[in-house]
Symmetry: C2
Subunit: 110 residues, 2 copies
DNA sequence: ATCACTTGTCAGCGATCGCTGACATTTTCC
DNA sequence: GGAAAATGTCAGCGATCGCTGACAAGTGAT
């Protein structure tokens, strides 16, 4: 359970929710600059190439999960995963009216 | 900024911090079962194959970021990224004494 | 304007991805 | 015990990854 103390010990890095790779990229870049690191230094700490840092900051959608988590750690960021008790008001995204239908038709095509 | 109200509106899905792909896999599986979904149904909602669900739940380290974020959304989970104000006391992980050194030697080998 | 530093771009290579479809195994009911 | 459902496994395919190394373009300070 997340406690009030946990909240006070940390600070939110942004109001922005992380829903897409692009969201994450912006967040990582902001945090890197906040810490005064250049891409090369961060890349070395994470164990990836500088190119990988460039691409993740641009929001590469198929970047490898493990590298992403190591990047968060290297930047002193931690992830809290929260369950929405409200059923499904979440979709503030304009597109994606019915993901099931989208997927079905996409599959049908192949 | 995360407010107290935000906390009260949601619940932590686990005490476990998400630091590794394996952590995430366990969390996703727990949440899927909590919602009473089977793998096939979840896969269709996320837009991936059932095999992908099996693998992410097993902690596949190079799974694609974008799919992971869509899975979280499909399970009604949201991500809060918090910055540790403490520099680096965080590492409750036993291993990883000096990630720079680890990376350097790994690179040397190749 | 110049210099140092940082960031972005490209090609091409081996490695790994995510997929299908069928089958084996495990779990869940009655 | 037995049927049905859920879950796990495999091979092999095209697609995409992440990498190197070099260079171009942007940024900042003097």
């Amino acid at each position: 359970m997340i406690t009030i103390a946990d909240i006070l010990r940390k600070k939110a890095i942004a109001d922005m929710l992380v829903r897409t790779p692009s969201d994450l990229g912006k967040l990582l870049r902001a945090r890197r600059k906040e810490l005064g690191l250049d891409q090369q230094t961060l890349a070395a700490r994470v164990g990836v190439s500088r190119l990988w840092i460039i691409e993740i900051e641009k929001g590469k959608p198929r970047a490898a999960l493990g590298f992403v988590l190591r990047t968060l750690t290297a930047l002193g960021l931690s992830l809290d995963v929260l369950a929405d008790d409200r059923p499904r008001a979440t979709t503030s995204t304009p597109a994606v009216p019915d993901i099931d239908a989208v997927v079905r038709s996409a599959r049908k095509r192949s």
